[in-house]
């Protein structure tokens, strides 16, 4: 029978199945960071257990790390304690690779896995972080787990799972100039809603997805979780294989050839059945800007803020009214009239080299607007930072008035010092515009790197297509 990519990934990892269909699923790669792992390691210790296979573990410190003055160490004592706890745990238990604070390969866990070839097609990849869906871009089954499950994977190399339903989102046609993978995925979430993918594993396909680079595919899969799906994935093709060749943990020699032969089978068969199919015409997608406190509250840059009465469902209407109040926005305000206070270019969604290049192209030869108090660029990893500096992108950003920082999660979730003050409004390339996400009372608008750069220059949202 014709199988979906998800069927293939699932069935090749089932170790055992309970009577009710709950499967014991084998985990190939376990990514670990400092926030969701301490209680799991502590649990292991208390039960007198050891990790099942330390060579599956790749770890880094990303959520808590400061992005400036790193030579002073981590000054916040609770953040420091958490990062040091990870240092201690990895020292005690071991790992395939650990990129600690200030290591030149340290960075956001979802950036360092792929760039080191630690994420390979056909793997099951888990991490105590919901944006683990990112790794599905490589034809992996990848999703976030809670801390109890982190402990479960450490102890058993397996997870207890029920198979999800399968959804295909097919995006055909060409993306317009100035329209990126981020706009594509924000548009998708606007179409299916933040609960649209609940209970599903989503495969992204179609010519628009095929045309994306690996960086673009990672951006799309990263935000599958924002559409409710734990896992997003893209079939393996030549783009995937070209990206992986020669990475530190990629196979070499004959093993590489054998691996590639296997990886080429990682796609849905012709005629495979999906539980739901969504079709999107890429040509309809314009640069997107969120206006509310949920990623589904999104429109295009030429649009306007809606009014609560536009929504028939009373729960939704109330949600919109509450969101507008929190965001300090009036109904019918044109998006391009919304002025901003801060700009954040970074996060596991948009901090890779391609993102920085795209933003730098908009910024080059221009200046950040006077009303913008802070414009930050936070590269996703030490390697991305080094690459960007080799290309001179840091100089472009700094000349325009941006701050060029050290890698980490930074203002995506504001666990370090980078945050919004109450009432401040931010154009952010991150993934969540929830209340308080970037700092208590902060107001987040999610956009692409190009759109964030254009907003920084204009001091308000602006259509990047008119700038480039």
């Amino acid at each position: 029978m014709a199988q979906t990519l998800y069927d293939k990934l699932w069935s090749s990892h089932v170790v055992h199945t309970e009577e009710d269909g709950t499967a014991l699923l084998y985990i190939d790669r376990h990514l670990v960071h400092e926030v969701t792992s301490p209680q799991a390691f502590e649990g292991l210790r208390l039960a007198g257990r050891k990790p099942w296979r330390v060579s599956s573990i790749v770890a880094t410190a990303d959520h808590n790390v400061p992005t400036e003055h790193s030579e002073q160490g981590i000054t916040d004592p609770t953040s420091r304690a958490q990062v040091e706890t990870l240092d201690d745990n990895i020292r005690a238990f071991g790992a395939l690779a650990y990129f600690p604070f200030r290591d030149k390969r340290q960075g956001i866990v979802h950036v360092i896995g792929p760039e080191n070839g630690a994420t390979l097609p056909g793997m099951t990849v888990v991490c105590g972080d919901s944006h683990t869906s990112t790794h599905g871009a490589f034809g992996c089954l990848a999703h976030g787990i809670g801390t109890s499950e982190v402990e479960h994977v450490l102890a058993t190399q397996c997870l207890l799972q029920k198979k999800s339903k399968a959804m295909l989102i097919r995006v055909d046609g060409e993306l317009g100039r100035g329209v990126s993978a981020k706009d594509l995925v924000l548009y998708l979430i606007g179409q299916i809603g933040t609960a649209g993918g609940t209970g599903y594993a989503i495969e992204f396909g179609g010519s628009a997805i095929r045309s994306l680079s690996m960086e673009g595919r990672m951006t799309v899969c990263n935000m599958a979780i924002e559409g409710g799906a734990r896992a997003g994935m893209v079939a393996v093709d030549q783009t995937t294989i070209d990206y992986l060749r020669g990475r530190p943990f990629s196979p070499r020699g004959d093993t590489w050839d054998r691996a590639v032969e296997h990886w080429r089978t990682l796609k849905s068969d012709d005629g495979a059945q999906f539980d739901r199919v969504v079709e999107i015409d890429a040509r309809r997608i314009l640069p997107q800007v969120t206006w509310g406190t949920s990623p589904e509250m999104v429109t295009d840059v030429r649009g306007q803020v809606p009014a609560p009465e536009d929504f028939a469902d009373p729960v939704k209407r109330e949600g919109v009214a509450r969101a507008l109040q929190y965001m300090g926005l009036s109904p019918r305000t044109p998006i391009e009239q919304i002025r901003i206070d801060k700009v954040f270019i970074g996060s596991c969604t948009n901090s890779r080299i391609e993102d920085l290049r795209a933003a730098a192209k908009v910024v080059e030869g221009r200046r950040v607007a006077d009303n913008v108090k802070l414009a930050l660029v936070v590269p996703g990893s030490g390697l991305v930072k080094a690459q960007a500096e080799a290309e001179g992108l840091d100089r472009v950003f700094k000349a325009a008035g941006f701050e060029w920082r050290e890698p980490g999660c930074s203002m995506c979730l504001a666990m370090n010092a980078d945050r919004l003050e109450p009432g401040e409004r931010c154009a952010s390339t991150s993934n969540r515009n929830f209340e308080g996400r970037q700092g208590a009372g902060g107001r987040t608008h999610l956009v692409s790197p190009q759109m964030a750069a254009a907003a920084a220059i204009a001091g308000r949202f602006a259509d990047v297509r008119e700038v480039i």
Binding site: P38, L413, R432
Partner: protein, 212 residues
């Protein structure tokens, strides 16, 4: 894990959709390396008028009188009634830890985000999915009836309303078994160690690049 069998509990209604885990427990509290003590900061930004920091005495902070859990009629609630897509966003297990630590044992709603739903079961917290019409009725009854209680029986998979109306809910047999017995599922999985080893041996031969 505390076993879950039956619960007769006061119900608190949280009448908003898409409640995310950042709202359930904000980021500053995730710096803890412990599993306990998150109850006082559950829904921190809605519950208090100031911005909280870890290590504070939260009992001294100004409370938002409008927030549902601050209303005296819901004091001691152990059942939370919620709207669609509850627990969306971050995978932080600190969210169910905070809900459980506050005193809730069950959450009733239409849909829950997948990771959150999963995390609940690992912490003796029962998330119950009911049809929209039933949840709507529960909201109406709860808001209109001071001291509104529900009786939840996991064995028979029913929610019993005070008016005698019983609502059946679905739960995976394996999860139910673990919850009723309070089992640590790592112990159960380790009973399959031989199968895991066999699987691993086969995989090493078929895809050696995964074991570099």
């Amino acid at each position: 894990m505390t076993p879950f069998t039956t619960l007769d509990g006061l119900v608190a209604p949280l009448d908003r959709a898409n409640v995310d885990t950042d709202a359930i427990i904000p980021k500053q509290y995730l710096k803890s390396i412990k599993r306990s003590g998150f109850g006082p900061t559950l829904f921190d930004e809605w519950r208090y008028l100031d911005v909280g920091e870890p290590g504070q005495d939260h009992s001294k902070r100004p409370k938002n009188p409008d927030f549902v859990l601050n209303q005296p009629r819901y004091e001691g609630a152990s059942v939370m009634l919620v709207r669609e897509n509850f627990g969306c966003g971050s995978s932080r297990e600190h969210a169910p830890w905070a809900i459980e630590d506050f005193g809730f044992r069950a959450i009733i709603g239409t849909t829950f985000a997948d990771i959150f739903f999963n995390n609940c079961f690992k912490n003796g917290l029962l998330p119950i999915r009911l049809p929209q019409s039933e949840v709507e009725q529960l909201f109406l009854q709860c808001l209109g009836t001071p001291g509104y209680r529900l009786r939840i029986d996991l064995e028979s998979q029913t929610v019993l309303r005070p008016d005698g109306h019983a609502i059946r809910f679905d739960v995976d047999a394996f999860r139910k078994y673990c919850l009723i017995n309070g089992f640590d599922d790592i112990g159960l999985t380790l009973q399959q160690s031989d199968k895991i080893r066999e699987f691993e041996t086969r995989r090493r031969i078929e895809q050696p690049w995964l074991y570099a």
